[in-house]
């Protein structure tokens, strides 16, 4: 298998995919993507290169991988990164309990069939192997999307492991030999930019930086994701979120928070009411969009007035 560093080989499963198909997949999954995202995803699929997506939390990075998997009937294999993530959690490990039982059974002669499995080699064979996400993605059949989520949370040592996998789409298990992907999975790597990633990783990836959606795009997202909410109310919510993003918050709301908030408001309203958002309604549901106590406390009466004012302006703009 050729090295991916110089990249050459294409992901067979996607080498004929078109922009129209990608747009259709996104539409089907109610994912609102601008042209840049569509083009970059097209390149990732056609060139067979991993896609590194960076951006603020809640900007839709993880969702993009899910949508890709859903839209193309691909299996989604997710590896959530965290500090201390090691190879045995990401790649494979041996089922020690099963190995121990097999060895004991062989020694005691309890299970006749197990006897042949009790020598040193046999307990390090397929039946005792526990596949973790990276290995699952390599060995799977058909279309697969490997989501390496929040890679910046993992240590740099894990990045090195990831590089090895992404370079050749193969791993070496000493007891079994080299395991290579018959068809490489589509790889989506996300990062919240809490630390810089290595140049080596960036070199292997196409890069996409996603920013919080514009007002219009956010309205479109709500229209698709929360259709039960009246459009005018959705516009008010988007106006408030846009205003909130101007504040120096600890965690500015992303698209995910806007959707959560819209669902909360829609749930509390009856029969898809189109009435304007009140101060009390905004205050009562603010916890759905602001996830830090300092941010919630920051919304005093003055700021609340300002938010409601922004909501009115957004409604007027939407209705005009």
């Amino acid at each position: 298998m050729p090295s991916r560093d110089d990249d050459t080989s294409e992901t067979d499963e996607f080498d004929d995919v078109t922009e129209a198909e990608i747009r259709a997949a996104f539409d089907e999954q109610s994912y609102v993507a601008d042209d840049e995202i569509v083009t970059t995803v097209l390149l990732a699929l056609r060139l067979g290169r991993p896609l590194l997506i960076e951006g603020e939390p809640g900007a839709g990075k993880t969702e993009l991988a899910k949508v890709l998997a859903g839209g193309f009937d691909a299996e989604l294999v997710r590896l959530q990164c965290y500090e201390g993530l090691a190879a045995e959690n990401a790649l494979y490990e041996w089922n020690y309990t099963k190995q121990l039982l097999a060895v004991q059974a062989g020694e005691g002669g309890v299970a006749e069939g197990a006897t042949s499995d009790t020598d040193d080699e046999s307990v390090f064979s397929e039946p005792f192997l526990l596949e973790r996400p990276l290995l699952q993605a390599l060995r799977g059949e058909g279309r697969r999307v490997l989501l390496v989520d929040e890679v910046d949370r993992a240590d740099e040592a894990f990045e090195a492991l990831l590089l090895e996998v992404l370079s050749d789409f193969q791993v070496s298990v000493p007891e079994l030999g080299t395991i290579a992907a018959s068809t490489p999975p589509v790889v989506v790597v996300t990062s919240n930019r809490t630390r810089p990633l290595s140049d080596a990783l960036k070199r292997r990836c196409l890069y996409l930086h996603v920013t919080p959606p514009s007002f219009e795009k956010e309205r479109e997202i709500l229209a698709r994701k929360v259709p039960e909410l009246h459009d005018a109310v959705a516009a008010e919510l988007c106006g408030i979120v846009r205003r909130l993003r101007e504040e120096p918050l600890r965690k500015p709301p992303g698209a995910a928070e806007t959707i959560d908030w819209a669902r909360a408001v829609a749930t509390l309203r009856e029969n898809g009411s189109e009435g304007t958002l009140s101060h009390a309604e905004v205050r009562r549901t603010l916890g759905a969009v602001l996830k830090e106590v300092e941010d919630v406390e920051r919304v005093d009466d003055d700021l609340l007035d300002s938010l409601v004012e922004a909501a009115r302006a957004a409604r007027e703009a939407a209705e005009s």
Partner: protein, 447 residues
Amino acid sequence: MTDEAPAHGPDVTDDPGDIDGEAVARATEHVRDELVRFARALRRAGASVPANAATTAARSLVVVGFSDEDRARAATRATLVTDPRDADEFERMFPEFWRRLTAGLGETGPAARWDDPPEGALAPLGGDPADGEDPEATDESESASESDDDTESTVAWRSSSLATHLDDRDDEPLAVSRYSPTGSRAPVEALPGFAEHDELGDAVEELTVALATLRGRAWDTAGDRHTDARRALRASVGTGGTVVSLPTRDRKRREVRATWLVDVSRSVLDTLDRGFLLDILGRSRTAWRDCRVFFFDEDLREVTSAFDDGTASGAAEALADAEAAWGGGTRIGGSLAELRTRTPDAVDNRTVVFVVSDGLEMGEVAALERELAWLSARAAAVVWCNPLAAAPGFEPTARGMAAALPFVAGPFAFAGPADVAELARQLRAQGTGGRVGYEYDPRREDA
């Protein structure tokens, strides 16, 4: 290939038709040139652009086509930008890149290659691009440019034809230069004996002094004199423990131990005067206490003994043998791995390692990084001498060269005695851990 997007670009033919092979080659070369130019301009502006980015960008443009500026912008941004802080710079420069790219692909044919200085955002590109740092240049492209006398001819082409041209390179990744655009195609004959280059003799002497007085880590910040605590303690015994003076000691001059690792691939030898190369290797072998010489290309071979008889005939023979034996691409990382496994005694913490190479790595960059990490940790210093760095507009963008930068001192220009003198001057002034290399060569500013 280009889907359904409407054409927004200026006069770019995307329709199938009779394609002149030469025109397609010219267009291919034009795209490659402009991408390299764009990537270099971004780097100059401080953007973090991966070494292989121009290659990936070329492939991306083939996928999205050349008819829609927005799609081309997204494709090039996905490959050239790896930090959102660089996005503004990219957006500032992209219109100029697109203008030049499409102008070259339109009715007027590709823009003149190097005698047409870019304007606007791409203006500060730094002199003649034929400086050897074009990572996309290939034999084919070079020959095409040499035969291209008619820049007025109309270019009719289609992206699929270009795709074929670019995709044909899958076996030879575009990021890797196969041939230096700086050097002459005419082979340079080795001198019959070590030349009596007075200038080189002086330069080697200066280099010897510089290496002999190279500062170790302890001397880096303390200057050339250190307080001798041991002597002060001994002296204090006679004064009842009171230190009445602080004796100092000077930095000792050391004998020079060095290992030369010389890339003898065609791209290096065609840009480097072989007589100069053999001369400096021979003089080093003679003047320094311990000096070993290795040639490498696809493989590593020790040729130290060839320099022992004080004439160039043995060395020239060894060089000729190496050229005859190796015809493929340079594997710097693989060669360093051989050094590590086969002759690890050639490098220790008192040895300065000189790598003479243009950094056009054909093997895996990751392997090169791994081996250089080992080498830099084991040696007193690793000094990279790049014949291409003598060109005024040189930038270390070749894959191997870019990967090597964190591990080596330099790169330094290495094309003649004056470069050796400059190397010696910088090492004496700054050591190997300071601000040294081609960027600090005052001759570069004068050029």
